[in-house]
Amino acid sequence: MSRSPSWLRPKLSTQLALGSVAVVITVIWLASFFLNDSLARLFQHEGNHELQRVSNLMVSRLNDYDWTADPPDEPEPPDPDEPRPAKKAPLPPPAPSLPFGREVLEGTEHVFVRILDPEGKPLLESEGFGKLLPAANLPNLGRIGEPGWWQWCEADGARGCHFIINRAIFNGGWVLTAWDIRYENRLLKKSQNLLWLTWGLATLLTAGFVAVAVRRQLAPLKLLEAQAAAIRPGALALDLDPDDLPRDLGSLAENLKQALARLEEAFSRLTTLNADVAHELRTPLHGMRLQVEGLLRDGDASPAQSETLEGVLETLDHLAATLDQMLFLARSEDPSMALHVEPLEVAALLKTAASPFESLAEERSVSLDVRSAGNLELAADEKLVRRALHNLLANALNHAPEGSTVTLEGLLEADQIVLQVRDEGEGIPEDFLPKLGQRFSRPDVSRSRASGGAGLGLAIVKNILRLHGGTLAITRAPEKGTLAKLCFPRRPQA
């Protein structure tokens, strides 16, 4: 299973911040929309209501006049389809003089009123109405005979509608009333702008606040993260008081602390166990050794008995050495094992490691070739690295045929420092390679035992490398023999 890309797994803080900002923005936006819409409805409702009132007032005033001088059968079209044909035939002559003066418009100054004869010809109108809505435009207001509501808008509609218009019928013609809604529209526009501004500001403020709040909320998590990163064997502790954290994080920290305490306890139990095992096994070995040595010193034993006793001594030494290896192996399993890491000159290190083998190699006519790339430095625990090299060299020398060469080499490979040991022996059987480094495993049991190995050597080498963050690689050498590589990271791990 592959991990999803990181952008699909945004940070917790980002998720929280984005989420809350989105919610807040939506709520404010809905509220502003609703507010604006209500305001528009209110304005419209009020305008319509006032226009209706004035229109009714005008109709009732105009009906009070005597229009009967004209054909009495002037129809008052109750249904919208009737009036047009009815009016077309008996057109009343326009009254030469009106039966009312401007006083008829009294009290309607806040709206525009235009009184028309049945033909649609203006008889009287409020001042300025003609400029706002030229009479010539009237036919545009739908069929002339119909009462009803219109809005008058700019030609392209871009700047909104300016008037609502009502047309009503009275006995002697029509009354147009118009309500200027430009003011309301401006108000609406203003309020809308204000709302947008509020919305933007609120969004910014919310985002800022949420970001700060989230960061503050997550600060303990960051602290926890830093502390968790510092956890390593030997430093299995959280320097945190769970009571200082938010409740949910507090319990997390508490659990973490308890888990670490259990680990720590297990580690220390392991260490104590090792020490106890060492004590319990070494003490009797020690007693035996001293007694056998005493017997040999007394010189009472026959030559045959002496030889047996000496054999016992050698076996005891071998046992003690194996015990040492096992104890070291157990200790090196514990990653908290203290390392004394210091910069080591590889050339000198290799020379020191090879020197115990000089005599043995010479005796077996094996040449020991030690070389190293110039000025190579390795940060490592010298004792441990030498011990690893020692084990590999002992293996190599044991398998090197007479007249061959064992090479110990230090080199730089990619970003690794490699210390390698190559022999020209028959090499490790292919099928044994995967088992290398397992405890007590040897490719050739009888021979290795004779040479003193307990099969722990490579396991020890492996652990030493692991403690240094490196790896052990054992392969068949290109031509013949075995190539064992100790690969150390160039920069030592903390």
Binding site: L285, H286, G287, G294, D324, T352, S451, G452
Partner: protein, 224 residues
Amino acid sequence: MILLVEDDQRSALALQRGLEQEGFQVDVAFDGETGLHLGLEKTYDILLLDVMLPGLDGFTFLAELRAKGTETPVIFLTARDALPDRLRGLGLGGGDYLVKPFAFSELVLRIRNLLQRQGAAPERGWTIADLSLDPTRRKVYRGGQRLDLTAQEYALLELLARNAGHTVTRMRIAETLWDLAYDGDPNLVDAAVRRLRRKVDDPFAEKLIHTHRSVGYRMEARHE
């Protein structure tokens, strides 16, 4: 005079017998209380102290002794891998520590070294039979003839000559020559000694380097 404090009676008695055969006077205590009592009462040249003692551990033991102003050097005998740091911190009085199981000869060697270090003046070369070493110029002569030795061979010869008459354990040789404190493989030391013998002993009738089987090597002139 040596005080041995060791709770494992088998080891303690074997050690006591061996040391007495070597000409030392040895008092033995099987627990810390008795040991401390003896240590405060009498004056000893060397203390051999087991680290893990019933009732009283080596640390407390040494601390009490040092608190009373006793500066006797100590050789700790430990079944652990290494001496705890706090014991080191307390000061061994020029002493040492040995990890069990150790060769008896190794202990004798260390006791001797400790006693010598306290009194004897620095030596001016060594002479064993017709072999002589000049440590300042690192030159070796045998029968008037200069021997050509490598640095390692010289170091080994000097180690043996310095302890002439006493067995030098393989462990001591490996530690001195190569700073090796591990590996039970005796082949390396044996090979190094064989190489030295080829130059120092083989051309001559009288052999000076002798094998102490399964323990180590000893240099001495064995006149018939």
